[in-house]
């Protein structure tokens, strides 16, 4: 028998028993569509989180005071000594290695801002010129902090997009004097709207030179040191350099933690991938249920079409021929169901994307192949039993029972 003829013959029998075929089609497509939708959601969540991390800047290292892991060796920790604070001089010392592109000190806190009687409490960031390059922020107007020595504190500030809108409305913000607690400083730039990044809401921040922030917040130390490494390949070297340098400066104690973005990224990636596999596995169970339904339907087909199978044998169909016909019908049914499921799943995830643009929910390529493959495999596997039963029918018996 020619393959094309098997397909045509199967199509005619499916069309001949429309209600039953539609039922299987529905079950199969629900299975495939749910695998696609769930993996799309999982993938969307994964991309969202990874995207957020990538927006933190590339090749970035963050130094924070204290050791995050339990250290058995360090005597200071055992005695409960508070780790040494990070200072501007620490940050300066880190600029000396060729693997490090730039270093920005960082302090954060909260401050009351006021302009012409309007005021509110906002986040305060103290940093330097380098920060904007490391983080890749964009300016809406004006410029970022000036490149001055970190100890100097010129009375200037850069404000977030939302503060600008709330305090100034239609007025121009650049050049205005903003009251920051007891200080006044001139606004020299407005950040472009960034939305919510994973660490801070940049739209509601005021950024000032680091020395000014330290005096406003009355802290001598730094909250973080943000470092840009020249290339991915130099990451490990840079990390080593930072730890060694700070250890030397802190009298031989390794009392800082260096976070690489990759480590965090990888953890999230792993968790979210595991989640995606898990839920798609659950969805795949519905495909197996659909497979069982295919088996039942094909068993009914074989019983109802006994005399037809007997006839086909009389007309010269061998056992293998009958097997091919029944399996062909099951395969066609599964494929049509899978195609319908693909259409539903893909348009469903497109709908999610259009409703929630933040969530780039599109099923990964492997999910497309896997769901169609599993649909086809379960359809065929579960039809083996009915198909074998049909192939073994005794033609004389089958023809006689079909009589009358």
């Amino acid at each position: 028998m020619r393959a094309a003829d098997i397909v045509v013959f199967s199509w005619r029998s499916l069309a001949g028993y429309r209600g039953r075929s539609l039922m299987v089609l529905l079950a199969m497509s629900i299975g495939v569509a749910s695998v696609l939708l769930l993996t799309a959601l999982g993938e969307g969540a994964r991309r969202f989180v990874l995207g957020e991390f990538q927006s933190l800047g590339t090749h970035m290292l963050v130094v924070l005071p204290g050791r995050s892991e339990t250290a058995g060796g360090a005597l200071g920790n055992a005695l409960g000594v508070i780790p040494r604070a990070l200072t501007l001089d620490d940050a300066r010392a880190l600029r000396r290695d060729p693997s490090i592109a730039s270093v920005a000190p960082l302090n954060v806190g909260e401050v009351q801002v006021q302009w012409r009687g309007r005021g509110r409490s906002v986040g305060l960031m103290g940093s330097s010129r380098e920060l904007i390059d490391i983080r890749g922020w964009r300016m809406a107007a004006g410029r970022f902090l000036p490149a001055v020595d970190w100890d100097r504190s010129p009375p200037v500030c850069v404000i977030g997009h939302r503060i600008r809108n709330e305090l100034f409305g239609r007025h121009a913000a650049i050049g205005q004097w903003l009251r920051l607690g007891p200080q006044r400083c001139r606004i020299i730039g407005v950040l472009a709207a960034q939305g919510k990044t994973i660490d801070v809401n940049l739209d509601e921040q005021v950024i000032v030179p680091v020395a000014l922030a330290q005096s406003l917040l009355n802290v001598p130390s730094l909250f973080r040191i943000i470092i840009a490494v020249r290339s991915q390949a130099q990451m490990e070297h840079a990390r080593r350099f930072i730890l060694d340098t700070l250890k030397r400066r802190h009298h031989g104690e390794e009392d800082v933690t260096v976070i690489t973005q990759d480590a965090v990224l990888e953890t999230f990636d792993n968790i979210l991938s595991a989640l995606t596999y898990g839920i798609s596995g659950i969805a795949a169970i519905s495909l197996i249920v659909a497979g069982v339904l295919v088996m039942n339907v094909m068993l009914v087909v074989v019983t109802q079409r006994r005399s037809e199978i007997g006839l086909l044998k009389a007309l010269g169909a061998s056992r293998r021929g009958i097997l091919a016909l029944i399996l062909g019908e099951a395969a066609l049914l599964s494929l049509l169901g899978a195609a319908l499921g693909l259409a539903v799943g893909l348009s469903g995830s497109a709908l999610i994307r259009s409703q929630y643009p933040d969530l780039q929910a599109s099923p990964p390529l492997w999910a497309l192949f896997a769901s169609v493959g599993v649909a086809l495999a379960t359809g065929l596997l579960f039809s083996l039993l009915p198909a074998r039963r049909a192939a073994r029918l005794d033609p004389v018996d089958a023809l006689q029972r079909g009589r009358g």
Partner: protein, 237 residues
């Protein structure tokens, strides 16, 4: 004439519960190419068993069967299926047309099973339908056809692959007299064109039309009567 069918000491046993039924009990039979043979006998005489055996739908418990010179008792399942397809056409009492397929598609089935390409199929199916006066019924489904037309579609299906042996099991059993007569004349016309025709029936009037009439009783050939060739008076050519 060369032999179409040669049976040597054919036995067919069935187990029914504790008992063993001897459906065929030592049949020796030779039917030449182009013969027209009827098989008659009371029910339970083994005539259906014989027909199934001749049609390769069943296998003898012992004995040898040569069909068109080929020893079919030595064949495996796939080879027998192929031999059925090439050599034998079946006509059943209840037509056995597939209801969801059109007349054309029903007739096409044996050629599809043989894996013949669509162009040749189309030509041969048209030809078969035409020769049975069904050219204008090709697109009809079986339930849109009369009984006589259905059986003629079944005959078209039986001959479309140009078999050498036509086996008819009570071909007029489900038809009124007029349609039955037309069907039997159609079969006889095919026989005159050279096909070997074997008709199983319990209708004596039908059985006596054949030039050779076999009577089976209890699984044995009780009578084998040959008549001189004289086709029905109504036939042409």
């Amino acid at each position: 004439m060369p032999a179409m069918i040669e049976l040597e000491d054919i036995h067919r046993l069935f187990r029914v519960g504790e008992e063993t039924v001897h459906a065929l009990d030592g049949i020796d039979l030779r039917i030449d190419t182009g013969e027209y043979v009827s098989v008659m006998g009371p029910s339970g005489s083994g005539k259906s068993t014989l027909l199934n055996l001749l049609g390769l739908l069943d296998r003898p418990s012992s004995g040898r069967y040569r069909l068109a010179g080929e020893d079919v008792t030595a064949m495996n399942e796939a080879q027998r299926a192929d031999a059925r397809n090439r050599l034998i056409g079946f006509v059943f009492q209840s037509f056995h047309l597939i209801p969801r397929l059109t007349a054309f598609e029903n007739v096409e089935l044996p050629m599809i099973l043989a894996g013949i390409d669509p162009a040749r199929r189309h030509e041969q199916v048209q030809q078969a339908l035409h020769s049975l006066g069904l050219a204008d019924r090709a697109r009809h489904k079986p339930d849109q056809l009369s009984g006589g037309q259905r059986q003629r579609v079944a005959i078209a299906r039986a001959i479309v692959n140009r078999p050498r042996l036509l086996l008819a099991d009570e071909p007029t059993g489900n038809l009124d007299q007029k349609s039955g007569h037309e069907v039997i004349e159609t079969l006889e016309a095919l026989n005159r064109q050279g096909i070997t025709l074997i008709v199983v029936t319990h209708d004596p009037a039908l059985g006596e039309r054949a030039r050779r009439a076999l009577t089976l009783v209890d699984g044995r050939i009780e009578a084998d009567i040959r008549r001189p060739a004289n086709g029905p008076a109504t036939s042409g050519a």
